[in-house]
């Protein structure tokens, strides 16, 4: 017996399930990526906004610093540095001379000079290294006065480089001129 095929459908039957499956998968993937992209974009905007603001702030600060530096440099250019250095050097030299203690020097000379040698004159000149060069004239009673004086200077830590300039016999006395470096307790460097 031959079966009867009844087809009551208005349209031909199509199986769309693969299409819908593909559409659903594509839509899900798109939605996932879109959300991720939006998140990335917003995060980027936020983070770069902060960094850009920081950079702008830093650049502003750099410009401020440079402007202030230029202002200081301009004021420095107005200073007569050579005259200032010259006056400072001169003032330091004068202060060093003022600070020089003659009392201490005379105390030390009293101790260091031999008993038969008498100081006649002394004039200091101030060196840059803090030493004071003394030009001295002394009177010795004997001919050994010069060598004895130099030896006594060499044996004292406050004196150095004693060197004679002249020795003259004047009657019974010997006039000695010599130079010696003297180191005061408080040495002031002349700068």
């Amino acid at each position: 017996m031959k079966p009867i095929h009844l087809n009551l459908a208005a349209r031909p039957f199509r199986d769309y399930r693969p299409v819908y499956a593909a559409v659903v998968i594509m839509a899900l993937l798109t939605a996932f990526l879109a959300l991720n992209n939006v998140d990335t974009f917003l995060r980027y905007r936020t983070e770069t906004k902060t960094t850009r603001a920081n950079i702008a702030k830093l650049e502003q600060q750099i410009a401020d610093e440079q402007r202030r530096t230029e202002s200081f440099a301009q004021r420095l250019r107005g200073v007569d540095l050579k005259l200032l250095a010259s006056q400072t050097e001169f003032a330091n030299a004068q202060l060093a001379e003022r600070a020089f203690s003659w009392s201490e020097l005379l105390d030390r000379l009293e101790r260091v000079l031999p008993t038969d040698v008498r100081l006649l004159s002394v004039a200091p000149s101030f060196e840059k290294d803090g030493l004071v060069h003394l030009s001295m004239t002394c009177i010795a009673k004997t001919g050994e006065g010069l060598t004895a004086t130099i030896n006594r200077f060499n044996g004292d830590q406050h004196f150095a480089n004693a060197f004679p300039a002249s020795e003259t016999l004047n009657g019974t006395e010997y006039h000695i001129t010599l130079g010696v470096d003297y180191r005061p307790s408080i040495a002031r460097r002349v700068e």
Binding site: L33, Y44, T51, E65, L83
Partner: protein, 203 residues
Amino acid sequence: MIWREKRVLLIVLGLLLLANTLFFFTYRVQYVSRLQDLDARQEQAEAQLDQARNARVTAEQQLAAYKKVQADLQVLYNERWSTPMQRLTALIDEVKRLAAASHLQPPSYSFTTGESKQVSTVPSTKGSVGTTTVGIAFTVQGTYEQVRRLINLLELSDQFVIIDAISLGANGTATDKVLTLNIRLKTLFKDVRTTAPAANRQL
């Protein structure tokens, strides 16, 4: 057949998916790169700021140091050294007072004046240092103790007086202990003829 019927939807979805995929990968890569660039720029700007700040601090300290030197010089020139009109008579009185306090009586005083000279190490310095040097020389006779007392009093004086040189000589016999002291003092005055020193110029 079924794909063709839904092709519009599929194409639209496909395009959206493609666009999102492209955006996802490319934007992600550029995002990191841009962030790194920005970080690098920020670090560079920070380094530049440090550099600029150091330069400013150096210039500021240099200026402050010059200001201090100028202020110190100004005090020295204007107050310690001052002008002859303001300080000379007081200085002479002081020297006489100290000699009297040492029981010494100088029979005469000699005074000299001249522009202060300086052996300068500063290259090509022109002009004077703006001071006048006044010298006072006198001779006194007295015992060694009196001489030492005078020297000590001169050292302790508030006046800016420098003992430039001294010379001693024995007087009479060795038993009378009387010495002759030649003493040369000097002091400095601000030079009123020249223009004000650098110390007086404001930065």
